[in-house]
Structure formats: structure tokens, C-alpha cells
Amino acid sequence: MKKIDIVVGARPNYIKAFPVYEALNKTGNFDLRLINTGQHYDDNMSNIFFRQLGMKKPDVDLSVGSDSHAVQTAKIMIKIEKEFLRKKPDLLIVFGDVNSTIAAALTAAKLNIPIAHIEAGLRSFDRSMPEEVNRILTDQISTYLFTTSPEAEKNLLLEGKIKKQIYFVGNTMIDSLVKFEKLFNCSDLLIENKLIKKEYILVTLHRPSNVDNPSKLKDVANSLNMISEKTEIIWPIHPRTWGKLNQYKILLNERINITKPKGYLEFMGLQKNAKFIITDSGGVQEESTYFGIPCFTVRDNTERPITVNRGSNILVGSDFTKLFDVIIECGKKEKRRNLLPEKWDGASSERIASIIINNIL
């Protein structure tokens, strides 16, 4: 039986990996092993996925924890190499663009273990993002590249990858959304905060450029305060960001409802029922596109342009002082056309499983 190692490390990984694991497991063809690097250790960000989604517990937990990018990458490489040497997998599957992705891929490449990268070819063309470096490097050493959009394939071909390595399969994260959509529920949270469906704005911000620098954080707070005068806001906030707000005595309007970070099902409920979303996250751009909820992405670039070209995402730039005006301006325009990107249909993992059976192993 061919052996496949599936490596996950951070919250966005779990959502993408779960349906792929299920699809491969269902075939009964493979000896699967799920390795969790433990890059995120916060309960809300990891264990909850295994509990809420009924996802199989990892077979191996490397428990590397948080550290600088280099040290975290290094620790994963050192620990995961022992696992690879012990099991000698026939294929490694990695996801997305976190440190676990590149660390596992690099280690496997040196051991001549073929690598499949799911969500390959995304490019923001902004090298200052550590995720961009992880993406570029992982794609270079991957043998099989599974893409979510035609643009991704173009990016890969421009970097010298060849057509027969690339499989356009759609988005496995959407598979999870389709599968669990019925369970998405934020009713209690809305009641608790006295919010009404479709009459609140969901805010998620986590990029260091937005939440670490006090003067930027002040801009964020000012603009959210203004926006909240029109529509109430709910902002699940990282404790670190909350600490910064307090430390610098930055005041928030009472129409901004602060909560702790939420579990997957509750957070998806919040997205699905929002009037619109303000975010700097990659995953939320895709999820909001699936829900057809307008999403204002407060960044200067996106590695997921299909969410803008076809979906409901609007790239508004990273200047929070202009955010209020931009949103008002968008409100005046005609309703945007929201199309679901091709193959974002809940069957991407099945496609991957059949490609692995027929073309790879």
C-alpha cells in the first residue's frame, strides 16, 4: 500500500486538508499519516477543528509552537525529517503558504520524496510577505501542483514549471464550506451582542502591518469608529491586538463589539450572516466569495485575484484613513455581480484523490 504523509500546521491548513484526507481515506488505497506540526497551539485555532469537524486526530504531533519564522521553520525541518526517515512516504501533501508548508516540502525534497502542493501558484508579487516566499519556494520543489484558479497556472508557467505538473482542481477549502455549511451558526453570539443578521459588519485583522504598529492601529480604530456610526461592527480580536489597544489607550466606539477569537463553525456563521466584511486575511477573501458577501480587503495586493475578478471581494488598499470613504462610494454603486469561481464546487478533494490514484501513485 502506498504511503502518503499529509502535513498541516496552522488553522487555514486544517480546513483545506480535512476534505483531502477524507477523500483519500475513502478510496482505501493508501496508508495515510496526518502530521500536525503544531505551528499554532491556541485551542481555538487548532484543537477545535479536530473536535468540531470530527477530523481525525493527527497521527504525529510535532508541537513546535511559536517562534521567529526562521527558528520555527528550522524546528519543523529537524523534527519532520526523522518522521520521513522512519516512514519513508511515497508522497507528501502540503497546503497553502505557512512555515510548515515550506519546512516539510524542503525536507522531503532533500530526501527525494515527491511533493504535492495544494493551493499552488498563488502570487501577491509582494516579497515582503513571508507567505509569498513560502509559496514561491514550495512550488519550485513540488512535483505536483494543484491549483485553485487559472491565474495560478499562469504564474507557475512563468516560473518555469511545466504544464503536465499542474492540475486545476478548484479549492479544497470550499469543500469544507460546502460540507459543513448547515452547521455554521452564530445565533448565540448575535443575541449576546444584540446584533441582527445582515445588519452588522464583521472585522478580522491579523497582519502585523495593521495590528502591531501603534500609529497604524490608531488609524484602524479611527476608521472603524467612523464606520460603526453607520453600521454596528463585530470584531473577534486576538488577545495580543486587544493588549496593544489598551496599552496605547486607543478607544473604540461602543458600537464595535469585541469578542475573543471564535471557533470555525461560529466564525463561518458570522461571515455568512454579515452585511459585509472588512479583512486583511487570505482565507476570508475566499470564504466571503463563496457566501457572496461583499468583502473589503484592506491590503495593497492579493494573491487571490479571482475573488476580486469573479467573486465579491473588493481590494481597497492598506490606507485605513480612506476606508470609510471607499465603503460609502461602493455603497452608491450598483450591486456587484458575484460569481463563484470555476470548480469551487465542493468536489475539489475528490478530483485530487482521483488524480493521485490515476496519475501519481
Partner: protein
């Protein structure tokens, strides 16, 4: 300007010394001083890297010695990454300078990239197109995250272009050309050929070290049959690693052992001295094929492929594998074909270190 140089193997020390020399010369006359900090990862333990190596070749001692060796690739790269990051955070350089294609190269590039320190890669763009070689992975990934890519040849530039890398790419020539020119005079002045009982242009130099030759008895026998033929008319000098010498015992015990002058591995300058005055060089080493060209000595390559295609295209190198007849054919036909015409060198003009220095300064300003 502060530069951190990251190296770990003997050839990298030799290449980096050319840059260090250029920095020193620059500092004598310029107000814009360059401070170079050298990190030695310890990747290759090499008995030839004794104190003599540093003093004789005027190679600067490393400022940091990380002593990371004897680990599998993943663990080695990982440990280097951790340790290099600590140094880079302390030193806060304007550039990280990396060389070639070892684990030290990649670990240095990754650590710098994560800290957003600009990376300059010397010997960028070389490709074997064999992803099973760990060096190929190191090359490709280091190039991907480097900001300045110093290519030794036009072909390297084209390789990068095919991978979508065009910005920051400079064809500066081969730094080994600088190194060869620099030490050539020294070798000539210090070392007499009479040491080996040979005269200028009247001997063949041979090196064999690759597993494909040493571990394959029929290939090894075939190579030595050819060497024995050559030795009938020309002294053959063969510096050889003790491990390879052991393997020779498996060959037929024939008189050729007397006709070939088998030596211990030679220090850098002695090897250079022998290379520059040989009539012909037979080798399976990558670097020596190119050095033969720098010295304008015809080369016969005892491998089935080469990464230095330019030397073949210009007629200075013949790829013959381990076949006795092909080796002898190549040897006999060189005199007719090659009249030492001067072509445009594909490896630059031996001024690579200064070109790199100039670009580093311009980019900084």
C-alpha cells in the same frame, strides 16, 4: 556598508577570498568602507582546511564558527537556519552574501529572507536539471529568494530567465577566474615543477574522485588502461584520495602502476602549479574542467556529461566518459584541432569580484 558572508565548504572559502580581497582594496581608497563578517557553518569538515590553508592563501578567518556538521540534510539546514538567524539579528547587515549550492547557501538565504535582509548570490543560475541532486534544490531555491544574482555565464542568465527571474540578474563572470589568476603568479613563484621531475608542457595531469568512476570497476579499469597508454609517451601525474587509492588494489596488477606517478591529494597552490603547466588534463571534477580552460590547457573529461558546456563548445574540453578508445582518441586529436586561438571568454575576464563590489555599492546607494 556591512556584509555578512555565509560559507561552509572549502571551495566557498576560496571563492569568498576573492571578494574579501576586493573589499580590502576598496577600503584602502574609499570613504565608503565595507565591513565584512564571515560565518563558517562548519558544513564540511576538510582536512585540507588547516591553518596553512588560511595563511598560505591569505583567506580571512571566519568571525563566527557554527560547527554544524554530520547531520542529514533537513536537520543540518534547520540547525544552520536557527544559528544564522541569531547572528544576522545581531549584525544587521546590509547584504548577505552566499556562494554556490550547498546547504549553507540555502540556510543563509532562508534566514536572510525571513529577516528581509537583501541577499546576493554568487554563482547564481547554474542548473544540472536533475532535481534528485540536493545541490540543484539548493541552487533553485537560493536563486528564487536572492535580490542580486551574480551569474558566471550567459547560460546561467538564460536559466534564470526561464524561471521568470530577470530583475537583479548580472552576468559578472566567474569568480574562480579571479581566483585562478590571482594565485597563478604565486604558485609559479613558489613552486618548482622539478619537484615532480617534469617540465613545462610535458606531462599529463589526472584526477579521479567521482563515485561513478571509483566505485565502478570496469570504468576504473578502462580509465587506467588509457592512462597506461598515455604514460608510454608522457609522464602522468595522478594526485588521488587515499580512499580511491585503496580501490586501485582491485585493478589488474600490471606494470602501469610504475609508469603513473600517484600522489597524495595536493594543497591548493601545488595543484594549481601542476594544472597550469600540464600538456593535458584528464579529470572527472567539475571545477578542474573550468580551471583547465582558464590555464588554456586542453581537458579530457572522464564523465558522460558536463555542467561547463561552454568549454566543450570552444573546443577546450572533450566529454569522453570512461571509454579507453575515446580517451585516447581525444588525447591524440588535441594537437591537430587546437591551435590555442584566443576566443572571447564565456567566464568574463577575471575581474568578477570588482564587478560584484561595484554592483553592491551601486545598489546600496
Amino acid at each position: 556598508m556591512k556584509i555578512v558572508t555565509i560559507i561552509g565548504a572549502r571551495p566557498q572559502f576560496i571563492k569568498a577570498s576573492a571578494l574579501s580581497r576586493a573589499f580590502r582594496e576598496h577600503n584602502k581608497t574609499s570613504d565608503q568602507k565595507i565591513e565584512e563578517i564571515i560565518i563558517h557553518t562548519g558544513q564540511h569538515f576538510d582536512e585540507n582546511m588547516s591553518e596553512v590553508f588560511f595563511t598560505e592563501l591569505e583567506i580571512p578567518h571566519p568571525n563566527y564558527n557554527l560547527e554544524i556538521a554530520n547531520l542529514p540534510h533537513g536537520a543540518m539546514t534547520g540547525r544552520m537556519l536557527e544559528a544564522i538567524e541569531v547572528v544576522l539579528k545581531d549584525e544587521q547587515p546590509d547584504y548577505v552574501l552566499i556562494y554556490g549550492d550547498t546547504n549553507s547557501t540555502l540556510a543563509g538565504a532562508l534566514a536572510a529572507s525571513k529577516l528581509h535582509i537583501p541577499i546576493a548570490h554568487v554563482e547564481a543560475g547554474l542548473r544540472s536539471f536533475n532535481m534528485k541532486m540536493p545541490e540543484e534544490i539548493n541552487r533553485i531555491l537560493s536563486d528564487k529568494i536572492s535580490n542580486l544574482l551574480f551569474c558566471p555565464t550567459e547560460i546561467a542568465v538564460i536559466n534564470l530567465k526561464n524561471e521568470g527571474i530577470v530583475s537583479g540578474v548580472h552576468n559578472v563572470g566567474d569568480v574562480m577566474f579571479d581566483v585562478t589568476l590571482h594565485y597563478r603568479e604565486q604558485a609559479k613563484a613558489k613552486i618548482e615543477l622539478s619537484k615532480w621531475n617534469v617540465t613545462d608542457g610535458n606531462y599529463a595531469l589526472c584526477t579521479i574522485h567521482r563515485a561513478e568512476n571509483t566505485d565502478n570497476l570496469s570504468r576504473l579499469q578502462s580509465i587506467f588502461d588509457a592512462l597506461r597508454e598515455i604514460a608510454k609517451e608522457l609522464p602522468v601525474i595522478l594526485p588521488i584520495h587515499p580512499r580511491t587509492r585503496q580501490l586501485l588494489k582491485r585493478l589488474d596488477k600490471e606494470t602501469w602502476l610504475k609508469s603513473i606517478n600517484i600522489l597524495e591529494p595536493l594543497p591548493f597552490l601545488e595543484m594549481l602549479r601542476l594544472e597550469m603547466s600540464a600538456k593535458v588534463i584528464l579529470t572527472d571534477s567539475g571545477g578542474i574542467q573550468k580551471e583547465a580552460y582558464f590555464h588554456e590547457v586542453p581537458c579530457i573529461t572522464l564523465r558522460d556529461e558536463t555542467e561547463w558546456v561552454e568549454t566543450v563548445e570552444m573546443g577546450w574540453n572533450k566529454i569522453v566518459g570512461a571509454d579507453k578508445e575515446k580517451i585516447l582518441n581525444a588525447y591524440q586529436s588535441y594537437d591537430i584541432e587546437l591551435n590555442k586561438k584566443h576566443q572571447q571568454s564565456p567566464y568574463g575576464n577575471g575581474n568578477t569580484a570588482n564587478k560584484i563590489l561595484e554592483i553592491l555599492i551601486n545598489e546600496k546607494n
